[in-house]
């Protein structure tokens, strides 16, 4: 009944070996599955490791978006002086702290690009420069240029890793000094951090995902990517917290009230994602301009329409209806089910964003065969063609993510001297 609570003296708050074992698990998964993927990728009939690289972009965007969601939560928490997060903030910090590893893993598709791989991004293909077929995108080929792209990628990586590192470092510092001023410093820092975060996230989405179909454009794309990522992030957050509790840690501090809030955020972002996705779809569908509708043409007709429906129902309609109830967020098995569900469908959403760009059309132009790039040709020839490598790369990169998280799970799992801890422990939902 009280406003604040103190940490239970018997509470296990030390990470101990947890981080190390998680890193080991991650390493195992990453090695095994990325190894399998390399083999499968090399064996894939399309050759040139093309399928592997496409799957890699999806898997990378997946782990990146989860880290992004957690970083956002941390910055927001400081910005609004939130309460409920405090007790589980270390876990969020560990997840966001995987950022450097994620960006190193991303070199897996950046390096081939820099070294002249031309079948992943169409704008890196020589035919993209042909004015006969691509006069509407010539002006942006200076922006979408492999080296400049890589430079931007490094900048994004440094900026986001710095943000994640800074908030984590300061928070850990408070554990030893107990200085309440650190909270104040972080709060002041969170404002500019949010601005930087928003800009970078937006442009990562534009660069890595939107430029897959370089002629198409949508101003809301960055926002929609972030919304989708946050769904996955909160689902992963809940699962990781539950997993840590299963090891006997934090059992007295983290209770259904905190899971309820994670569920609420997952629910909110499920709705928010649907809102952004609908805004983008509605305006392009209704506006009916060929340079925009091409994105949906290849997703609404042919085989891809079934994936579109699956994303709509699986990522929005079904979880939305059930997450509305307070009980799905408070009863552990239900929460686990929907977290896993949303994590899978978050992947499918990214798959849906990237994979329709896989089939590139060609056209004869004055006796030379030109590659027209993604979203061309008859929709009937665009196949969904799920491949085992799509899945193995995804799992392998989740392993990479776990390495990043495990490395950060050290020391206290609760910011023991945070002034808002008492409120967070006593947190109750209405």
């Amino acid at each position: 009944m009280s406003l604040t609570k103190t940490l239970h003296p018997d509470e296990k708050i030390k990470a101990g070996k947890l981080g190390k074992s998680l890193t080991k698990v991650g390493l195992g998964i990453a090695f095994v599955f990325l190894g399998i993927s390399l083999v499968l990728g090399a064996m894939h009939p399309d050759g040139h490791m093309r399928r592997f690289l496409y799957a890699y972009v999806i898997g990378w965007s997946y782990i990146f978006s989860i880290a992004i969601g957690m970083l956002w939560l941390i910055i927001l928490h400081h910005l609004v002086r939130g309460r409920w997060v405090t007790v589980v903030r270390r876990i969020a910090e560990a997840m966001a702290g995987a950022m450097p590893i994620i960006f190193i893993a991303g070199l897996g598709f950046i390096l081939p690009l820099v070294f002249g791989y031309k079948d992943l991004y169409y704008w890196a293909h020589p035919d993209a420069h042909d004015p006969a077929i691509n006069h509407t995108m010539l002006h942006k080929l200076g922006w979408l240029e492999p080296n400049f792209f890589a430079i931007r990628y490094v900048f994004y990586g440094v900026a986001l890793s710095f943000l994640a590192h800074y908030f984590r470092k300061k928070s850990i510092e408070q554990d030893t000094t107990g200085d309440p001023k650190i909270s104040e410093t972080l709060r002041i820092a969170s404002g500019p951090a949010m601005v930087l975060f928003a800009l970078v996230t937006c442009f990562v989405a534009f660069d890595v995902l939107m430029s897959m179909s370089p002629k198409w454009y949508s101003t809301i794309y960055g926002v929609a990517f972030w919304g989708s990522g946050c769904v996955g992030a909160f689902a992963a957050f809940a699962l990781l917290t539950l997993a840590i509790q299963r090891t006997g840690r934090l059992t007295r501090s983290v209770n259904p009230e905190h899971y309820h809030d994670m569920g609420k955020w997952m629910f909110s972002f499920t709705f928010f994602w649907a809102y952004t996705a609908f805004s983008q779809f509605m305006l392009q569908w209704y506006g009916n301009m060929p340079e925009e509708t091409v994105f949906y043409k290849y997703r609404m007709f042919g085989e891809w329409q079934w994936v579109s429906i699956a994303v709509l129902v699986g990522f929005f309609a079904f979880p939305f209806v059930f997450l509305m109830s307070r009980w799905t967020k408070r009863i552990v098995p239900a929460l686990v089910f929907f977290s896993v569900w949303q994590l899978v469908f978050h992947w499918l959403d990214l798959y849906w964003n990237v994979m329709p760009n896989y089939d590139w059309g060609t056209q004869f132009h004055e006796d030379t065969k030109l590659v027209l790039g993604p979203l061309t040709g008859n929709t009937a020839f665009h196949h969904v063609a799920f491949s085992a490598v799509d899945i193995t790369v995804w799992i392998g990169l989740i392993g990479v993510f776990l390495i990043g998280v495990g490395r950060n799970l050290t020391g206290n799992l609760i910011p023991v001297k945070d002034p808002t801890l008492g409120l967070s422990l006593a947190h109750e939902n209405q």
Binding site: M1, V80, H139, K140, T219, F271, Y275, L283, T420
Partner: protein
């Protein structure tokens, strides 16, 4: 035990021991602090003066409407080229202002920002009055407002039905749903406080007023079983209002974005309009509350920390709007669509350049001042900056509407827009209407949610065992 509290409240001392009657005295004080405004036998002189000014402005508006209705839309500056101008600008502006009220009453409630309690009631009232003003413009722009009921689906001799594929029809549904919801939400919150007024009036022997308050408070008696359902209903209404407020301004943005006009057709519009709406709405809340807390001596309820929090929200939403401006420019270039590119260059350097830079200055540059704590804690400065933001957000809508229309696809169609005195008169009139209603509200209705304020006081936990 940690004694630090957070979330905008200055660390309230959380004692465990309460002297008998101490908590009750505190509750009594809150009731009195709020109720005296309407119980004062004579209104404040400044209040009367302001009401007079507001009524004069309103009269100008009534005259403009009279001329408009008896003559026709031609009295406005709208032309074939700039077919939407001040009317729709004002409509979007007013709707946007209304959104902050819902945000305060719903979104901040859901995210447990307790500082909202002090301003929630007046912000909700602001929503209702702003939506009333907003609704006038499209209604009058129909040209024959007395036939507006044709937009309601009903069987008729002509066998005609409304056209649901039109975004303008979506607007009708969105805005009327919003109006209904805002009124019901507001009234639900009012009932316990009206009961307080009822009991106070009856205790002081004002039977007639007491009976009126008694009827509108529905016989509320603060029973725990009733409070239980009431709280659930309040929470759910807040939960319903949140997607609603998003949808309303998104639908408003659809009016533009579903078209193909360069500068209107862009997918970021829905969230960007919502952010802009909240931005302008908070500016208006502060424009109203800063003088009011001074005038009615509510400084210890509407605290400085609350003003600061609102400044921060304006900073955040202002930055979002700025981000959207930047994204739009980037994508206009990125898209390779020559019309789109032209539209944006024209905005900044075309004949309406002044409105564009007024918008950038007021919406992007001005809120940056809120990074500084000194600015946030100086009410007079905040007030001035908020006026700027109100103006800037008006210009934003004007820039979107007028510049795009005045320079659309066909150069032969290009023109310029000049408002007439009736455009100005009607806009001024809605400001008058808004302030008239708001001043009346301030005098006769509990301006602060008394029961909610009591619920978040430290005294609300008095006498509890741990």
């Amino acid at each position: 035990m940690s004694t630090e509290t957070t979330a905008g409240e200055p660390a309230a001392e959380h004692h465990d021991e309460w002297k008998p009657g101490e908590a009750r005295a505190a509750f009594r004080q809150v009731t009195k602090d709020v109720a005296w405004v309407s119980e004062a036998p004579k209104p404040h002189k400044l209040w009367v003066a302001l009401l007079g000014i507001a009524l004069i402005l309103f009269a100008i508006g009534v005259y403009s409407i009279y001329v408009l209705v008896t003559t026709g839309i031609g009295v406005w500056g709208n032309s074939n080229t700039v077919c939407w101008a001040w009317d729709i600008t004002n409509f979007v502006w007013w709707i946007g202002i209304g959104h902050a009220g819902t945000l305060i009453s719903a979104v901040l409630f859901l995210t447990r920002q307790q500082w909202r309690t002090s301003i929630a009631r007046s912000a909700e009232a602001m929503t209702i009055f702003a939506v009333m003003c907003a609704g006038l413009f499209p209604l009058l722009h129909t040209g024959r407002p007395w036939l507006a009921w044709w937009m309601i689906p009903h069987p008729n001799d002509m066998g005609m039905w409304p056209q649901f594929r039109s975004p303008l029809m979506w607007d009708v549904f969105a805005v009327s749903t919003y109006m209904t919801t805002s009124i019901l939400f507001w009234f639900l919150g009012l009932v316990p406080d009206l009961a307080t007024y009822r009991d106070r009036c009856l205790a002081r022997g004002q039977t007639v007023r007491g009976i009126i308050y008694g009827i509108v408070s529905l016989g509320w008696r603060g029973s725990a079983r009733q409070w239980h359902r009431y709280e659930r209903a309040y929470l759910i209404l807040a939960g319903l209002s949140t997607p609603l407020v998003f949808s309303v301004h998104s639908v408003v943005s659809f009016d533009f974005a579903t078209s193909q006009l360069p500068g209107w057709h862009t997918t970021i519009f829905p969230p960007y309009f919502v952010a802009g709406a909240i931005f302008s709405g908070f500016a208006m809340v502060l424009t109203l509350m800063l003088p009011a807390r001074h005038l009615f001596n509510l400084k210890h309820i509407v605290k400085e920390s609350h003003i600061e929090a609102m400044c921060k929200i304006m900073l955040a939403t202002g930055s979002m709007v700025g981000l959207a401006y930047a994204t739009e420019f980037f994508i206009a270039w990125y898209s390779g669509n020559m019309y789109e590119k032209f539209a944006f260059i024209n905005r900044a350097f075309g004949p309406f350049w002044w409105s564009y830079f007024a918008m950038i200055f007021c919406n992007v540059v001005i809120p940056q001042a809120f990074w500084i704590k000194r600015v946030r804690t100086t009410p007079i400065l905040v007030f001035v900056l908020c006026i700027f933001i109100n103006i800037g957000m008006w210009f934003e809508r004007f820039v979107i509407i007028a510049t795009s229309l005045a320079r659309s696809f066909l150069p032969a169609q290009w023109s310029y827009y000049h408002p007439t005195r009736y455009d100005i008169g009607l806009f001024v009139g809605t400001i008058g209407l808004f302030f008239t209603l708001f001043l009346l509200f301030f005098r006769y209705v509990p301006v602060i949610a008394i029961s909610e304020v009591k619920g978040v006081m430290p005294e609300a936990h008095a006498g509890k065992k741990h």
